[in-house]
């Protein structure tokens, strides 16, 4: 630090000249670091609170004040069968919706990235509308749609609704990947004797896979914690977010924090694996 100042020219220009650039930059670098850490803290603080309160030795029904450390809730995870059922429902819906969304969304992304066709503009508009429209609007309209069509709200309607609102995200991430592809790579595969089917699975799909994976992860994340639309379309079905909402009226038990922690941990693992393999792939 000090060497930087001494190395500045001795015959510095007249007083009032700007300070040497290097110490100033170092200060900015530090401020930038502080700023970054603040942002990270802001993002992670709620998650940290959720994890910590899973270990809270709370005596009352509500889990809002710290009363000491305990592992006991981890042992009592399966204490409430309704909670477990809600989590299982949420996982089933999320997995199913993700699979359906990823398949349809990937095909849409491929078509939209590759071909100019009649109705492309309309499809783009509809995709954007699906992202931009408020969940309340979508949820209530879906409910009236299902009711007027005579469909009983439940598991199937929730899956349909979740596919609907996450489809755009998959289609858009896959399209971005497809647009970036050099079309002659697929031609090269054809030229080397691969049928269209083999070309897709050996060449096209591996190249768009990163987009497909990010789309699928987004779809899963959107589905597992969706509340508003699910509330409208679930009927008597309980999902994890719906159960928590119901429980807040009498107090959220620490098991909710633990399940949240577990879901978060799985998400982190998937994200890390995806990052590492993506780095190896490209």
């Amino acid at each position: 630090m000090s060497t930087a100042t001494t190395s500045a020219p001795v015959t510095a220009p007249s007083a009032g000249a700007p300070a040497p650039a290097r110490p100033r930059r170092r200060l900015l670098d530090r401020l930038l670091k502080v700023y970054v850490w603040l942002i990270l803290a802001w993002l992670f603080l709620p998650i940290a609170v959720m994890i910590i309160f899973g270990f809270n030795d709370t005596k009352s029904k509500s889990n809002v004040t710290w009363q000491g450390f305990t592992f006991k809730w981890w042992g009592m995870l399966d204490q409430d069968p309704k909670l477990i059922e809600a989590v299982v429902n949420s996982l089933e819906i999320a997995v199913l919706a993700t699979v359906i969304t990823t398949v349809i969304g990937t095909l849409m992304g491929l078509a939209m990235g590759r071909y100019r066709f009649r109705g492309l503009g309309t499809v783009n508009l509809v995709l954007f509308a699906a992202i931009a429209s408020p969940e309340l609007v979508m949820g209530s309209s879906l409910l009236s749609l299902f009711v007027s069509a005579g469909v009983q709200p439940g598991f199937v309607t929730v899956v349909i609704a979740h596919v609907l609102f996450s489809l755009s995200f998959v289609a858009i991430t896959v399209r971005a990947r497809v647009v970036g592809l050099d079309p002659s790579i697929e031609e090269a595969a054809r030229d080397l004797g691969a049928s269209t089917w083999v070309t897709f699975w050996r060449v096209t799909f591996p190249m768009i896979l990163p987009g497909v994976i990010s789309g699928a992860l987004l779809a899963f994340a959107l589905s597992i914690d969706d509340f508003v639309i699910t509330q409208f379309t679930s009927g008597a079905l309980q999902t994890f977010p719906l159960w928590i909402w119901g429980a807040t009226r009498i107090g959220v038990p620490p098991q909710v924090n633990i399940l949240g922690t577990l879901i978060f941990a799985v998400g982190v693992v998937i994200a890390v694996v995806n990052m590492v393999t993506a780095r190896r792939r490209t």
Partner: protein, 382 residues
């Protein structure tokens, strides 16, 4: 399948007897597109024959239809009319994966998610070649293109020149009947491009496969090709050896596109000793041995700048001789380039080699004589 191919290759060079089947035949091939409701012809009727083992170039400016022509040979474009034959077999409706030709793309089009070895083995795997043979052939091919020991590299970890060689190996390892190359050296810098030109020619001799080479670079085509088809506006303007294309351009376009050339037109004054004589100005004359012309015909001739001699004395009889004024002298090291203005206003470019005995004689503004032999005046088709 692969064995019979190998047999054909071994026999081909020594073939004598029945006339050999050409590797590639295009017969009246037309490609039309519909653009904004209008029919656009990218290729307006190309008929040509490429012999087995030939290094054949399609040369022309961008948009002349050369790449479309090649893509019709590969099967990526369906001709609107006409026939494509590979080794005598009509393949016009055969998809690219069933055609026994391979292509090297301008962008290389390597598979980014596979390493070098997997890239090169891709074609052989599609043909269900036994693993042991794939291993042997890929290894051999990587040696030929000088990439031994880099099998595990990913394409993005390699330089442009290396990627180029991977693309070449990936195509050649299949022992195609013909290799199609679409401006394969376009993305390389000049030094590397020149090295790769020689390298390509060597590899072509080594493997003995027919090469069809698309380029807009005339020097590249002249350096490597056995024959060149010069294309312009969807048509072949001239199809001949590099020497003939340079020395005897058939059309004004070819003369202008390949190297530098001078175009002089005039009316035939008389025919004597088999030479048509054009009169130019008061005392200028252009002699040409070509064609049967009668007095009164208006014709255009081209002459290459290096064939023209520049002097202050009146040239001997029997040579073309025109008077002019030196408008510009450019020293280019190897030679001097003169721009000489003729009385009619036409400018003629003259290259004079910078040999030991030739000092720059003419200066700007000098009145000079230009002269050249009758056999260097080529009559251009209308």
């Amino acid at each position: 399948m692969t064995e019979t191919q190998a047999d054909v290759e071994a026999v081909a060079p020594a073939a004598s007897g029945p006339p050999p089947v050409p590797a590639i035949e295009l017969d009246g091939v037309v490609k039309e597109y519909l653009a904004h409701g209008e029919v656009v012809q990218a290729v307006k009727g190309v008929t040509l024959t490429i012999a087995e083992g030939e290094f054949f170039s399609l040369l022309g400016p961008s948009g002349c239809g050369k790449t479309t022509t090649m893509r019709m040979i590969a099967g990526f474009e369906d001709p609107s009319r006409g026939t494509v034959r590979l080794h005598g077999q009509d393949v016009t409706d055969v998809p690219p994966n069933k055609r026994d030709v391979n292509m090297v793309f301008q962008s290389y089009a390597l598979f980014p998610h596979m390493n070098v070895w997997e890239n090169v083995a891709f074609g052989l795997r599609r043909k269900k070649v036994p693993d042991a043979e794939i291993k042997r052939r890929v290894g051999e091919m990587l040696e030929i293109v000088d990439l031994g020991g880099r099998e595990k590299r990913r394409p993005r970890e390699m330089s442009g020149g290396q990627q180029q060689r991977v693309a070449l190996a990936r195509a050649l390892v299949n022992r195609p009947r013909a290799l199609l190359l679409d401006e394969p050296l376009g993305a390389l810098d000049l030094k590397l491009r020149q090295a790769m030109q020689i390298e390509l020619k060597r590899i072509q001799r080594e493997v003995g496969i027919t090469f069809v080479y698309v380029t807009h670079d005339q020097s590249e085509a002249l350096t490597m090709s056995d024959r060149i088809a010069v294309m312009n506006d969807g048509l072949v303007e001239q199809l001949a050896s590099p020497r003939e294309i340079y020395e005897r351009p058939a059309t004004a376009f070819v003369a202008g596109f390949i190297g530098t050339s001078n175009l002089i037109s005039g009316t035939v004054d008389r025919v004597e000793d088999g030479c048509a004589v054009l009169r130019l100005g008061d005392d200028g004359r252009v002699l040409t041995e070509e064609g049967a012309h009668r007095a009164g015909d208006t014709i255009a001739v081209t002459v290459r700048p290096e064939k023209v001699m520049i002097s202050t004395d009146e040239p001997a009889a029997g040579l073309s001789a025109v008077r002019g004024t030196v408008a510009e002298v450019v020293y280019l090291g190897l030679y001097n380039s003169y721009a000489v203005r003729l009385p009619g206003g036409t400018e003629v470019t003259v290259f004079q080699q910078n040999a030991l005995d030739s000092t720059s004689t003419a200066e700007r503004g000098d009145a000079v004589w230009l002269s050249w032999r009758p056999q260097h005046s080529y009559v251009i088709g209308s």
